[in-house]
Symmetry: C2
Subunit: 154 residues, 2 copies
Amino acid sequence: MVAGPTSVGPGKDRLRLWIRLLRASRTIEAELRERLKKEFDTTLPRFDVMAALYRSPEGMLMSDLSRFLLVSNGNVTGIVDRLVSEGLVTRARRNGDRRTSMVRLTEEGSKAFAAIAAAHESWVGELLGTVSEDEARRLTGMLKSFRSNWEGRE
Amino acid sequence: MVAGPTSVGPGKDRLRLWIRLLRASRTIEAELRERLKKEFDTTLPRFDVMAALYRSPEGMLMSDLSRFLLVSNGNVTGIVDRLVSEGLVTRARRNGDRRTSMVRLTEEGSKAFAAIAAAHESWVGELLGTVSEDEARRLTGMLKSFRSNWEGRE
DNA sequence: TTATAAAACTTCAAGCTTGAAATAATTGCC
DNA sequence: GGCAATTATTTCAAGCTTGAAGTTTTATAA
């Protein structure tokens, strides 16, 4: 997924775009992962889960998390397990539907997340610093239209 | 890495861009991974390694692969191990420098890759079909300038 | 009611990934 | 030559990831 097309022709422009997109996100992701580990001794998946929960003080179901984060159900189980054992998150069985459990940030988790998120935002600002604000908005617009087209496919 | 910023302010545009970028590449990556598995019983990392080797008939060192694919050394070891056991790749100790080994596609590997790559390219064309050719080129240009700025940082 | 299906999760095996530590070979310096 | 530093690679533990199979609970419908 990282090697480029060697020939030319129709369809190659999209392949080129895909390869660039993937390389850019892998590059940034690797840098963020490394800093999260070094500065906060945490991981990207844990950060993702906490970010989702931070936006939902009322809590989220495991399946909500899975859908929102675009990862599998079993995956979320493991990440939440670890966050629970670190005291950053709670998993509460519900009375209404005993199959589900509501996942929430603890007080400690919420405080920890706020600090990490601030650093994270400034890192992204730094790493994407060479992209002008204007360009950033245009790129975002294109990706947004990609997303809505994607969601509307059969 | 997937949740969005909730507030506004300077720096938020780049954060928004990053989140969109990551969601787009994860979405496409997941789809490609699934199809590679279903149609060819292979994985994205194996495909990546084969793609790199396909461009270098003379072969690549493990460290070349690692650098080119943006993954760790130890990671490449495992993927190449599996490709070797599948008969798609060879690892030849060199006489010049016995620390290194030259990795090459086998005849079979080369044939297999060509078939997969053709499908892969058409999938990407399909999945990015809603991005116009013109937009694709502009986006690629922006990502290219991001890349060269990145490589030129201290 | 009471099977049957559907939904929410968890468990598991296999593979991917990193970073650190270990091996082995080469290079540079005295 | 001999020895320290460097380079190329492998090994390993811990964690991430998926898809499939299993468990428990809820909904459906004859």
